[in-house]
Symmetry: C2
Subunit: 412 residues, 2 copies
């Protein structure tokens, strides 16, 4: 007997027929003798409808009211799944975030879970092995007693938080892919599904645009050491595939040096030429950007032709590119640069692997391989377990394929 | 300064444009200096959609899960109206039944309100004259902590219960008619809107099929002496009509003998001929019907041709007619009757007025007037403030018009 959390997203519960399919997955686990809590999203399209109404009601809507409206989507799915499970002869009941309760901070619309009380759900497990069907994406803020939502994709985080609260043996995230891949299979047909990936690697992959899991849910899984599987809800409920286990580094026996290659197209590059090379100039550039909530990622500073000035290159999210340029043009007097150059047709390609910690020269190999293919590297960043290169977008596929082969990730 | 509850039904909040119109009504009252709580139903059609999903999920669905699903409709409307009000510069917030709380019993799907705590809403009135937007149709059952709905039309009851809880000066029920009429204006064009009608009269009218207000809401208004207006949400928000006040009998100065004529088509008649006239026979007939939850309304017993048997005629709701016949046929041996006759093409026409209490011969006048028109009366019942006659359905309009004129209710 194990205790587990199963999470299903919006496309998996888009109508009653799909909800019945979800119930079959749940039934399999119940019949295997497990105690099961299910976390559900709203039916696909419902959240968009609700958000649309809020926007129509007012362009500047109160986030607390937005939350009250939008949280209703999961409430509907949870009740319906409980009904379908009962119809299959399985004890089940729905739980809304405030009933458990799942507690959040007061950042309505993008709240963080601050706690969850699993005691009543566990009590119902023990008393009659009742399946708990829990509304994802939401909790309650105290002492205001108002519903708060976690922001898009928040149901993954709900599932992991619930798994921690009920001391679940594992948390299965059912999605429309059957696991985490070494890279995007649309670009590299040789991409392999990983059996296991460490929390740290998954965090880097998630934040780099391999959008399988919400970053926050991986952080939470790492903190509470929740064994989390990514698996497909479209598998045959009677014979599902295992998916990918996201787990502690120590639980991975044969650790690769590089586990995966990710890429992110939402990048823009800004270069300031001939900036006066004196103390405080970096602050003059980056403080106004930070004040405007613009995340600066890669930063490189190189000495210019003359020795009194320097060139500074950095990246910002593509969505903030125009705003960043405006801010820097306004601050030109203070920063004192000659020209501002920018590019949006750039992409960041990254290699991730905890094995890098103990292997030198991993990145250097990549620089050479990319150069051999004629790919120019605009910027580089490295961390303990990943390195990233900024290149022209036109070379995205070539670069990803090159690194995927280089580190031995191609399918046998 | 007054304190008031305003209630709007599903057609009044069917989309954002109509919700904006509701907000204009609310704004008028706020600008007049009043403290306002608004009770809203789900958008028209939404409750049916949610109910449809529950039925699709299982024919025999758990009423507690049904409630969790269906209650989401009002949650959406309450949040949206709060957003629209804020957009108009009015302090407002939504309250769900469980947040107030409005307490109910455990009869999920058709729960009764057992209490409501108005203290926090009053506190918000006092602190900053904030409009409370409250989800109708629902409350919370304790100690189970689960949402319970009141059954169709329950938002009227929510509004009255809230009015009692916050000690409101009045409760305005906005609907698609502009008040309570002396009879159905589709049948009698001379029908007049009543300025005032007593709780007792309204109860009889509501239960007799003049479906303006849910019966339970009128009972509650009477118990707590809540002055309740029925008025139109389609009036110009800047210049609304007063509607009909439902109030204590003592607040009506010029009391008419008869206030209104109601009719109900949902009736069926059953006659048992030559029933043995001995003690216990009434029980033999009516106990099995009561056990099957069939409401028997009018009952007449007349002595038959011979003196050892009697004929018994009574009415049941048309929807229960076939079921009632089956039960009586099964019990034939015990009841010992000669024949069972039935009719569904019958209608009950009633005259209602608290003035009947002090005036004799009110009903007798009606029997004569109907006889003069050649209308045969199949059964009669009378109570303190109303009398009803059962007639052939073909004579409905003629009978209603005849009584409406007879008691001086036609428009001048």
């Amino acid at each position: 007997m194990a205790r587990l959390v199963m999470k299903f997203g919006g496309t998996s519960v888009a109508n009653i027929e799909r909800i019945r399919n979800v119930a079959r997955h749940v039934k399999r686990e119940v019949e295997a003798g497990h105690q099961v809590a299910v976390v559900v999203s709203a039916m696909a399209g419902k959240t968009n409808e609700l958000v649309g109404w809020c926007r129509e009601a007012s362009a500047l809507h109160d986030a607390r009211e937005y939350d009250a409206v939008v949280a209703s989507g999961e409430q509907v799915t949870a009740g319906l799944l409980a009904i379908v499970l009962q119809d299959m002869g399985i004890w089940a009941r729905s739980w809304q975030g405030w009933q458990i309760p799942i507690l959040t901070d007061g950042a309505h619309g993008a709240a963080r879970i601050t706690g969850a009380d699993g005691s009543r759900i566990i009590q119902h497990f023990e008393e009659r092995n009742e399946v708990a069907v829990v509304t994802g994406f939401q909790g309650i803020h105290q002492p205001t007693n108002r519903i708060a939502t976690l922001g898009r994709g928040g149901s993954d985080t709900s599932a992991v938080a619930l798994a921690a609260a009920i001391h679940a043996d594992r948390c299965d995230i059912y999605t429309d892919v059957d696991g985490v891949y070494t890279t995007d299979p649309r670009i590299v047909p040789q991409a392999r599904r990983l059996d296991r990936v460490s929390f740290e690697e998954m965090l880097e992959m998630a934040s780099l645009g391999a959008k399988v899991l919400q970053v926050r849910s991986v952080e939470l899984a790492m903190t509470h050491n929740v064994k989390t599987f990514v698996r497909s809800s479209f598998d045959d409920p009677a014979d599902p595939k295992p998916g990918t286990l996201i787990c502690d580094e120590e639980d991975i026996v044969e650790q690769q040096i590089v586990t995966g290659i990710a890429y992110s197209k939402d990048e823009a590059q800004i270069t300031l030429r001939r900036v006066a090379d004196k103390p405080g100039v970096a602050a003059a550039i980056f403080v106004p950007l930070a004040d405007a909530n613009i995340n600066v990622d890669m930063i490189i500073q190189v000495v210019s032709d003359d020795t009194t000035t320097t060139d500074i290159t950095f990246t910002v999210p593509a969505a903030d590119y125009e705003r960043a340029k405006t801010i820097l043009e306004k601050a030109r007097g203070e920063i004192n640069y000659a020209t501002l150059q920018g590019a949006t047709d750039v992409v960041k390609v990254s290699a991730i692997g905890v094995g890098m910690r103990s292997h030198a020269g991993v990145a250097a190999k990549a620089f050479k391989a990319l150069a051999d293919k004629g790919i120019n590297i605009r910027a580089i960043t490295t961390s303990e377990i990943k390195f990233s290169v900024l290149i022209d977008a036109a070379y995205t596929e070539l670069a990803v394929r090159t690194l995927h082969s280089l580190y031995g990730l191609d399918k046998a």
